[in-house]
Structure formats: C-alpha cells, structure tokens
C-alpha cells in the first residue's frame, strides 16, 4: 500500500463513514430511549474503539462533551478486566456504572461489547446513557449530604450482561428491583442494547466494501493522524510549566475550602497535567473519578482546538499525574454526586494554565458551577409527585475574540434552562423575576459575560435541594481581567431570608406556600486589563446596564460627563479625555 494514496481518499471517506456510524448510534438511542434525559438532553454517548488498545476510533457527535475521552478510558479499563477473566468472546456484552472504573456518576450506565469478524476481535463498541433513577436515598440522585457511594444508588461492577449472546435475565431483575422506575429502566437497557446492532451493521458494511485489512489499517492510521494533528497544535504552544490553583467552597458537609492545583507542562509536542497538591477526597460528594478528570482536561482542550476529531490519537500526547485518593481520583467508598462541580473546576484550571501560554486562543473561566436547584413534592392540582430541575446558567469567560456570552450552558453539557411558563404549568410556583444579573461579568479588555438571576415563590409545600459552588471563590479572570461576581443563593422561609450554611449546597429543605428562593449565577471572568477597554464599549455597557456606574468608574477608569434619566433609567455619556487621564493615573498608582 502506498501510504499517501490510502491516506487522502480512503482515509477521508472511512473516517467520515465511521463517524457517521457513531452519529447514527447516538440518534437511534436518542429516539428509542425511555428516559427524557436521554431523549431530550442527549445525555448519552456512543463510540467505536480499537480492539487491542481500546483507543477511540470515532465517537458520536450528538452526545455530551462530558463523555468525550471518558468512554475510551472506560473501554480500556474493561479491556483489562475482561482479559483477566478470559477475554472477550463473541456475543458478550458488559455492563457497569462503577464510577471508580467508568467515571462520572452512578446514573450513567455503560455497555461495552466486542465485535468479531471471522472469529477475530475486530472492534469494540460502547455506549453510555443516563438512567432516570438508580435507587439510593433520593429519586433521580442529587443527595449532597451523602458520605458514601451506597447512599447514592446501586453500584454495578463490570459484569457480563450477555454471555455468548444470552441475556442474563436474573441480573436485569436485580437492577429493576432496585430502582424506582423499573419499566423505564428496563426499556432504556433494551434500547441501549439494540443500538449495537446499528454499529455492527455499519462496520460490517464497511468491511464488505473496503476489506477487513483496509478498515483495520485505517483504524491505526486515523489514530496516528489525529495524534499528529494534536501534536502540531501542542507544538505551537510555547514550552514551559504553567501553574494555577483554585478552590472549592466546601464539600457540603464541613464548611472548609478544598484546593485543586495544576502544573501543566508543555514540552515540545506533549502535555503533562500534574495535579499534585490537590486536596484529598472529600467526605461529601464533591469528588471526581480519575477517568473523568482526564476526560475533563480533554473537554477543555477540545473547546480550544475544536477542529481536532474525537479520536484516541488526540489523547496520546498527554501524561497525567493525579494523586490517588484525591478529590479528582476518588476511591471507594467516596460519593461522587457533586462530580459536575469538579468537572467545571478542572476545566477552569486547564484554561487558566493554558491562558498563560496561548492567551489568544484561551477563554477565561466561565461561571464554573454546574449545580442545580431542584423542587419536589405533590402538586395540589393533580395530587401527582413532581420533580422540577433548574440547572444553573451563567456567564462565559471573555476571550481574545469576544466578550463573554451571557447566560450560557455549562461547558460540559448542552442542556437548556426550563421555560418559565412551562414551569408554572408543571410545578406549584411563580417566578418573581428572571433577569440578566447586572455587573456580574469580570471586568477586562474584553468583559466576561453576565450571569442571570431569578426568584420564585412557592404556591404549595415542597422540598428543595441545591448543589452549587463558587460562593467564596468566584470565577477568576485572565491576563489582568477581573473576577466575576460570586454565586448567590438565598432561601425565604416564614418571611425570613437566609443564606445556606454551606453557601450553595442544601439538601431537602422544606418550603411552604409563600416561601421561596432567590439565586444569582456568576458571570464569566474578564480578559485583559479593564483600563484598556474601548471607552465606547464601556459607555454602551453602562447604558445597557451590563456594568454599574461604580464599576465603570473604579474598574474601567471611566469619568462620567453627563447623567440624564429616561423614566427610572439612568443614561450616561463619558468624558473621553478625563477618562483617559484617570486611566493613566490609575495605572501609575498601580505600578507605584
């Protein structure tokens, strides 16, 4: 085979075909799943993996970023476990949700199946899907007071769900007996199983068309090519070690901050992520499994180098040092329910480390807390049990390219915020306001995006749970940009407003009619020195209410020439010459 001819055409076409197979697996599950969380927020992933190394060959483009590299690390773990038990056999399918092996949390159930062609292991297929319930102390999860994994649900170690093509029905009965939604869970399991037929058929068609040897060669070649591509981007990053640290407010049990530390070394065309110095695993749920920590680093890289395909080659030029038993390599029986908070923080420290090296490509950290406010109870109109989930929106960090986005979804997800009108139909509550949170984006040459704020009042008794972070440690800016406003949560019960003891973590607090919640999400960090921001932009931000007058004057060095009013709104005109002078004196003071 002449390598270049194979490369240009067959590679392009085969890569397209393999990605198409993975995409079609995604879409088939999204359509067939029972759980709305899969069918409506795409909380799933599918991939094709290398038969010997377990590296990703292609992953579907509809699934969520959080599963990006996590799938490969899971498959590699299963490959080792299966080998120890005699290796993969035709007709086998493994199942697990053990976070210490497959990352994320118990709700994400993973299936792994070998695909044999002519008696030889040709590829590995895997998928993951979020089940609506996995047993445990609270319906659907979110139990921030858990201290061990068993309070969060049933733990499925790597098991053969199918052996030689035969389903272990007893095992299925064991699952369905331990979850609150047995019919739905059985349906999701069937749907996830059926999707493998799509993957197998797609691969078989390719083999028939191009020959097994060509397809196998392409697997290797695609991984090598992606590695080369990733290395070419890393080689563009100046060599050096870039350090940063960040803090979690607390673990929801004890109000003490926990450190995450990263020393990122760029050496030629490789990266070394060293998390030495990160706090030991938490007693509470603010913990992350090693595989998802690694995956989160790749999510950050993919947000910067979006054009690199999701392929094991892209993961090769990296090395990790993650202390065992730390909150980013949690060990049994540490709980993991708050893992999304940790995912967000890992992404942020990677951005901040890389920002020191390639500021023109790296955004400042975003709002950085993926927490949720949940409301549950019996609806007085229907008598039926309801659970309302409001995932946190917030501002994005500013970048060299643009100001930050207002009210973004968390970088590892694509899920939307609920419609207010729809929420009022479904839950006994009334929104008092839902607004852009003024002055919440970090100041900078480019300003961080604003977060948002809302308040609602209950019309009937309910129970609320809140999981969040970044109350005491707001999202930082980069390159001299300011930090964003911190997270803010207040409860109102019996006419009194109060702050949760753990800042933004709260489990099963009772609310009555007339009680309520106010929440305000952080904005994103600023990018660059605010004293260099275009004054016309500062004036526009003031008049749009994105920044307040004190911020304009203090952080941006603006001098107001004229203030007028239109009804209750103030309108400002800046004095450009005086503003430039004030900026000059602030700079001098800053350096003095």
């Amino acid at each position: 085979m002449t390598p270049m001819t194979m490369d240009a055409v067959t590679l392009a076409v085969l890569r397209g075909a393999l990605e198409q197979i993975a995409d079609e697996m995604d879409l088939h599950l999204i359509h067939a799943a029972m759980s709305p969380i899969i069918s409506e927020t795409n909380d799933c992933a599918h991939g094709i993996f290398h038969p010997e190394t377990g590296e990703t060959i292609a992953q579907g483009r509809y699934g969520l970023p959080v599963f990006l590299a996590n799938m490969q690390f899971t498959v590699q773990n299963i490959l080792r476990i299966a080998e120890a038990e005699g290796g993969f056999k035709p007709g086998d399918m493994w199942i697990l949700n053990d976070p210490y092996v497959c990352g994320t949390h118990l709700q994400d159930v993973v299936l792994v199946a070998p695909h044999f062609i002519d008696g030889k292991l040709f590829a590995i297929l895997a998928n993951t899907g979020h089940w609506m319930d996995i047993g445990g102390g609270t319906p659907g999860g979110w139990a921030p007071k858990s201290k061990e994994i068993h309070q969060e649900g049933i733990l499925i170690p790597p098991l053969r769900l199918y052996e030689g093509g035969r389903l272990n029905e007893q095992m299925v009965r064991m699952f369905t007996a331990n979850v609150r939604l047995p019919t739905e869970i059985a349906g999701d399991l069937t749907a996830m199983t059926n999707v493998f037929a799509i993957g197998r058929r797609g691969i078989d068609d390719l083999v028939e068309r191009y020959g097994a040897a060509t397809v196998q060669t392409c697997f290797d070649e695609l991984i090598t090519r992606s590695e080369r591509q990733m290395r070419s981007y890393i080689a563009d990053i100046p060599d050096g070690t870039y350090c940063c640290e960040d803090w979690f407010d607390n673990d929801g049990i004890t109000d003490a901050p926990m450190r995450i530390a990263l020393a990122l070394t760029v050496e030629g065309d490789s990266l070394h992520f060293d998390f030495t110095g990160t706090a030991p695993q938490a007693v509470g749920t603010i913990n992350l499994a090693r595989t998802t920590t690694q995956s989160s680093c790749f999510v950050a890289l993919k947000h910067i180098f979006a054009e690199v395909p999701v392929n094991g080659g892209a993961f090769r030029p990296t090395r990790f040092t993650i202390p065992d038993g730390s909150l980013i390599a949690v060990e049994y029986p540490g709980p993991v329910g708050g893992y999304l908070e940790v995912v967000g923080k890992v992404t942020d420290v990677v951005f901040r480390a890389l920002a020191q090296a390639i500021p023109d490509r790296t955004p400042a950290p975003s709002f950085g807390t993926t927490g949720v406010v949940t409301i549950g109870g019996r609806h007085p109109d229907t008598g039926r049990y309801y659970v309302g989930v409001f995932p946190y929106p917030g501002g994005y960090g500013a970048s060299y390219e643009t100001d930050g986005l207002v009210h973004g979804t968390s970088p590892q997800s694509m899920a939307n915020f609920m419609s207010i009108e729809m929420s009022e139909h479904r839950y006994p509550l009334r929104f008092d306001y839902f607004a852009l949170r003024e002055d919440s984006g970090g100041a900078g040459w480019h300003r961080g995006g604003c977060g948002s704020e809302y308040g609602f009042t209950m019309l009937a008794d309910a129970v609320t749970t809140v999981v969040g972070d970044r109350v005491d440690h707001p999202p930082p800016g980069i390159l001299g940009g300011g930090h964003a406003a911190p997270n803010f949560v207040r409860l109102r019960t019996g006419g009194q407003e109060w702050k949760p003891e753990m800042g933004s973590k709260l489990e099963r607090e009772s609310l009555g009619a007339g009680d309520g919640i106010r929440a305000a999400s952080p904005g994103g960090g600023g990018f660059g020195d605010p004293l260099t921001r275009d004054l016309a932009e500062v004036e526009r931000d003031l008049n749009l209410g994105y920044v307040s007058r004190p911020t304009a004057e203090i952080a941006y060095g603006a001098v107001i020439a004229e203030e007028t009013a239109l009804l209750d709104r103030k309108l400002y005109r800046l004095d450009v010459a005086a503003s430039l002078a004030r900026r000059q004196s602030l700079k001098t003071k800053g350096t003095a």
Partner: protein, 674 residues
Amino acid sequence: MGGIVGIDVGGTFTDLFYSVDGVSAHTTLKVPSTPGDPSRGLVDALTTAKIDPPGLDLIVHGTTIATNAVIERKGARCALITTRGFRDILELGRRDRPHMYGLTGVQKPLIPRDLRWEVDERLDHHGAVVRPLDEDGLRAVAQALRGEQVEAVVIAFLHSYANSAHEERAAVIVREVEASWEVVTSSGVIREYYEFERTSTAAVQGYLQPLIARYARNLRDRLSGWGFDRQTLIMQSNGGVIPLPQLAERAAYIVRSGPAAGVIAAARLAAEAGFDKVITGDMGGTSYDVAVVVDGAPIIAETTNLDFRVPLRLPMIDVNTIGAGGGSIAGLDRAGILHVGPRSAGAVPGPACYGQGGTEPTVTDANVVLGRINANDPIGGKGGMALDVDAARRAVDTLAQAIGLGIEDTAEAILSVVNQNMAGRTRLLSIDSGHDPRDFALVIFGGAGPLHGAALIREVGIHTMLVPPAPGVLCAMGCVIADVRYDLSRTVERRPEDLGAETIAVILDEQRRQGEAKLHTSEARVRDVAVSHVADMAYQGQIHPLRVTIERGWSVARIVAAFHEAYRQENGNTLGDIPTTIVSLKTIVLGVRDLVRRALEIPPPCAVSAPASVRPVYFGGWVETPIHRRDALMPGMTFDGPAIVEQSDTTTVIEPGMRARVDAYGNLLVEVAK
C-alpha cells in the same frame, strides 16, 4: 384562463417559472437579483421572459428579503415591553451556546436591552389576572419611547397565550400614544407557551414588519407600473401562500420561504410520479438543503433557529442546511486528511474555473476537471461565457501534489468527500424523523444537485433519483403550485381527559372560523377549503411534543390512541401507562387553488434518440460518454449510464451501472441497474 408566474428571488439569481396550466413549464429563466430593491429584479425577470401583463392571471412570489434582514440585522429599530421582572427573556434565551465545542461568541438580540421596558401586570398559567395592567405606567413608557426613534413596538407578557387581554389593551394604549408605530403583540403572532420562543417570534415579526410593509407597497406599485393589477401571492415558509395585502402582518411567516417552495414542488412532482416517501435535496453554490416528505406532506419544524438565540416558533417546512455546494473549497487539515467545505468561494471570487481570481479548488472545479460540466456551455452563463478548464486543473493540481495523486483522481476524491457529507446528513435527517432512508426516493434539484444525485443515491442506498424537468428553477415552480395556507395554534397544556372532547372541538372550531375568515378577506381565488387539525402531545414530563393529526369530533380515547401510534412510529415504542398531555391544539386552513391535477399513463419504453455529442468524462478513468440534451428526451425513453444530460439550468450525471428513463411528466428517473 391566463397564465401563472412563479418567481423566486434568491441572493444571486431571480428565478422565473411561467406556466399556462399551472404545473408544466412554458418558460423558465434566471436573471441576476437586485438586492438593493428586489422588486426591480422581479420585474426584470418578467420583461426578460416577454410575458404580456394582460395575459397573466397571477404572480406567486418567494423572497429572501426577510431572511437577509434578520441575518444581517437590517430590520427596524424596535422596542419591547414586557411583564415587570422579565425584560431580559429575549436576551437570555434558555441557557445554550453557539457551538458544542468552543466557548467564544456572543448573541446580538434583535431588540437591545436599552429598548426593552417593563410594566406592572401578571397573569398565571390559566390566564387569570394576578396583577392588573398598570395603564398609567404603560403610557409613561410609551411616551418615553416617542423620543427613541422606534418604528415598531413589540408587547410580550407572560402567559398571554392563555389570555391575550392585557397585551391587546396595552396595544391600544401604545397606539393612542403614537399612531405611526407598527404594534405587535406576542399572542397576536402565536398563541403558544414558552416565553422566550414566543417573545423572539414576536420580535422577529416587529423587526420585519415595517420593512416588509414598505416592500409590499413597492412591489405593488412596480407591478402596477409594468401593467399588472391582478392578484399577487407570496410564498410562506410553511409551504403555503398568502395574498400580498396580508404580507406585512405575516412578515415572520415568509422567512426562508424559498427553500420551502422547492420542497413543495419536489413533493408534488414525486407524488405524481408515484413516490410517497421522498427526500428532497437542493444543492446550489454554497449549501445543500435537505428535507423529508412523507405521503405528500413535508415534515414540519415547530421552531427554527434563524440565528444564534433567534428562534422562530412558527410551523415551517423542516429544511436542513449544510455547507456543501459548488463553491465549497477542498483542502487538507493538519492530519493530512481531505476536507471539503464548509468554507465556500462564494460568488466572488467563485470557483477557479470562473476566472475571477479564485485559486483554491472547489467542487465545481472538480466537476469541470472530470468533464462532467460542459466548460463551453455552463449553466447560468449567458451565451458565450466559457469556463477556464486550465484554471480549474491548476487549482486541483495544488491539492493533487500535496496528496500525491493525479489531478483527475484528486478531483474524484473531492467529489467523494462532498458526496459523503451530503449523504451522511441525508441519512441522519431521515433517521431523526424515525424512517429508514432506503425506503425513500430522492428528488434532486438546484443548479449543482443533479451533478451529485447519482452518487448520493448510491451512498445512501436509495433506489430512485428523480430529476425534475426544470431543476434549476424548482423553487419558482413551487410558488406556482402552492395552496393558500393559514396556521393557527393555541397552547392548552392539559391532560386530554381533563380538557374533554367538547372543549377540544370548541377550540378547533374557533380556529377554523378564524382561518376561514382570513381566507375570505384575502380574496384569493380558491377552488376548495381544506381544514385539518393537529394536537401537539407528549407524555407527562416530556419536553418535546409530537405532532399528532386528529379530527374534530374525536373522543379523548381516540386522540390518545393516535398519540400512542405517532409515538411508536417515531420512536419504535411507547411509554405504556404514563399519562399524556395535550400541549397545543392547531388548525391548518388551506385554500386549495384551482390547479390542474395530472394523471398520465405510463409511457411505453422506447429507445433514446441519438446523443447530441460524445465527450470524454472521467469515471475512475476517461470514458467516451454520450451527452444528451434534456429537451430531446421524450417520455418513455430509456438509456444506460454513463451518460450526461445537459440543460440550461443544470447538468445531470448518470453513473456507469445506472439506468435512466423519462416518465410521463418529463421527470428523469435514475436507478441503480439491477
């Protein structure tokens, strides 16, 4: 009976389709568009076609003017008035970002924050008044807005779909303050919940209304100046038409109407030809638009994103677009793997073969290098303009050297990659709608479509490709054959058992009455009125409802059963005993136009006439290939690939191993030979 003209005004070309019987083409042509005043290009097309105004009954017209105004942010300066506490709904959206990967970018709200105002008022989700409308406060806001040079005021209150009284009263007050404003209420545009989507839809309407009102006046005057005073209808994105006098109030309905017209025409031609499941593919210079039609009905999207955080929640034909067209540029990524698009050479400089300074290889250049496009008689070229084959070869050669292949093999590789992109999207779209793509026929059109259709059916596994008689002006043809259409909707969000069959019937009757009244006042000439009903339904707790066709008078049990069947069709299963919800009730009132419905006999097979010429075309090697003129192909003629069919508006490639025949309607049907 006089003639009918369909005119589709696109970004580059204005297409005309003139018919005497209302479906077969008498004259088709393309003239350059005149973006400054699109109505000028429209009259240019009419005069170029030498149409005699007195002999013309009807002009039906599609336009991109609304789409462009939104994308380029060239609409009116508008103010928005909302419920107190909620003015930012339009800007916040529902927590998203522009792309899955990459965190940069911002949105540009159609109405900026300083033009968004709040007044005291609040309804609950049943439409009951929680706080009355503060009329004095509203007057003060309206007075303040008089100094803000706005052309339109949009009023969007929470839960107005359940009770429009506050919005309607507010509109009266705002008009009292300033009569020259266009005033839009959210419940007047769409009576459905989801405050962001409804407010955005109303903002799009307000943003477009002044502009479209001016355009409608302009067009009427210009047509009148040309000598035409009879009826003009305008194409909507739902696949139906409305009369010109109603255009301004329906401004938001004409966004992306051109692609919708193409789907309508493709669906109609395919139905006549005997295909009930159709994928329509429209490939032009920069993009490939693909849609799915089942049993003659195009799949409808309830919400379409016009831009990041600019959703339009109106029923629109679900046309999916990817960046694959004749101008798509081929290159290598850092992994050394070939990519085609989405970057496009556009109209300027265009493909290298246009000789306007383009040097990067495009899909069109690849087609020229392979001899598929006739360089001496290209489409859209006005007599005499020839393509620069050497420039195309030079452009492809730079890529060929980088990957170590010959020029022709590189050109074929470019086509393989772009065809795979289009085939992939085509498959995903049909899977997404719960269908197997292999059960469909492909209607391929657009200037570049028939060059690629043969490869697409091979890739997707589709049996038959249908190339219409005038594939380059199919959108203009769609205008001619579309019915008058009004969509009405109302969110109820209740369990069907709680709502009851009687209430459902009352709501549907009211919608029917409103639609028929609109049809009546439109004075559009229609043969018949067809009314159909839809319930948007979901299992309780689900976010995305399904469109379920229902009939007035059905029992609750019958409606629920129809939902279960629709759910099974789309998802392959049902969720058993989980209760269902009727989210919205909808009515479609069609004014069926008096058009010829053809039903022709299958023509006996006959031999194809001698090809006009023979030239070498590259199919894995140079093959002397017969070149047929489309107008020499008569019903019943059958021939084998490889072959090329040329006509003024496109070129059709029939690959080796495929067989083509002309059906009774002049469609070219191409199949993979068994």
